[in-house]
Every structure is written in C-alpha cells, then in structure tokens.
Amino acid sequence: MQILYFAWLRQRTGIAEETVSPPPEVTTVGGLMGWLATRGPGHAAAFANPGLIRAAVDQDICGPDRPLGSAREVAFFPPVTGG
C-alpha cells in the first residue's frame, strides 16, 4: 500500500511517500493512522493530532472510519489552504 504525505505531514515524517504493509488488524483509515504513528518519532509527531488530518483513499477524500478494503494508495494532508 502506497502512503502519500503532504504539507506538514510530509515535513514531520520527512518523506513524501512510502510503501507499507500494515498488519491485517488495520482495517480503517483511522486504524492506519494509529499504526503509521508507531513507525518512528517523525511519524508520531505527524499523527499526534488526528483531528487536524484529512485523508483520501485512492484519491477519494474520506473520514477515519473508511474501510481500507483493497486500497492501493492512501494520502494524508492538512485541510487545504489554496486560493
């Protein structure tokens, strides 16, 4: 599963993307966030406040309850600030 990080999530994790294989008990976007937070101090800092984080599964924006199913790509990012 490909994970993408944007803005301060990219900055805190120190990476723009990574390929991961979460264990079978990780079944939702929220569960994935908790599991990714354990991958190191940068990841822990990035996921310290899940309420500030938005996610998209296969480019479809979703909440933390979204089942991962056979997702190939999950992106994490802060609320957008363009325009």
Partner: protein, 150 residues
C-alpha cells in the same frame, strides 16, 4: 485553451482575458479575481504545495459546477504552485457572461470553492529562515457553505 491550469509559471491576465473573449460578441461582462502573495510581518514569501493530477481534477470539477450553475460563455482558472514572492499573483479566476451578475457571482463561487476544495497547502517563509504552514480558516468554509442550499 483548457479551462484549468495548475502551473509554476506566472500568468498574464490581459492575454487570458483576450483568449476568453476571443472574437465573440455575445459577452457583456468579464469578471476576474487575482489572489496575490502579501508581505505580512516578516514574510519573505510563500511556497505552495499541491497534489499533481488530483489538484487539476478537483479544480475542473469546481469549474464544471460553476458552468452548470451560472449562464457563462466561459471561465478560466489558473492556480500556481511553488515559491511566491510578495506581490506575485497566486491564482487567477475569470468568468465571462452576457450579463454582469452571472460573471461576478461565478468568480465568487469559484474562489470560495478553490479555497476549500482544491488540494493546495500554503507555507509562509520568513526572512529568518523559519516556516509556518497556513491554517485553514473557518471563514472560508462559511463562505463556501453559502452556495449550498438549505
């Protein structure tokens, strides 16, 4: 001419207006909006991050929505990414219509939704080398919500 461009390069407002008008003679109104990088306290500039591909599709969906909602003869959105200096144009929105209300409202609509739906993230870059990611504003959500009935 595509309706949407996401690009690092600056844009040319006059050229874009001329393109949008073309040789048409049924346009009575062209409204525009340019968002610029400001030099707020100690700010050296801004850097805009985006999600290539997804950003273009998100803006195209907003443009389709505007075309369905307002009687426009055309519209154009250019949003830049990368480093910006104070005074640089970040975003350009143009809407053309037979009548002024549609053109002006479409520009407001497009800007409100760009602010809340298009995947861009602004980072403020300060003279002392520090950075700060801009936080989303509740104001912007409220502005976008006024276009949703109910």
């Amino acid at each position: 001419m595509p309706a949407v461009s996401v690009q690092a390069e600056p844009f040319d407002v006059a050229a874009e207006m001329a393109q949008l008008a073309g040789s048409r003679t049924d346009i009575g109104a062209i409204a525009s909006f340019i968002g610029l990088c400001r030099a707020d306290d100690g700010l050296a500039g801004m850097t805009l991050e985006h999600w290539p591909g997804v950003t273009e599709r998100a803006i195209s969906a907003i443009v389709q929505d505007a075309l369905a909602r307002f009687p426009l003869t055309g519209c154009r959105v250019i949003h830049r990414y990368g480093p910006m200096r104070p005074g640089d144009g970040i975003v350009l929105v143009l809407a053309a219509s037979a009548h002024r209300a549609a053109a002006l409202e479409a520009v407001g609509f497009l800007m409100d939704w760009l602010k809340t739906k298009a995947p861009f993230w602004k980072r403020e870059d300060f003279h002392d080398g520090s950075h700060r990611w801009v936080e989303a504003k509740a104001d912007d959500d409220a502005a976008a919500a006024r276009w949703t009935p109910g």
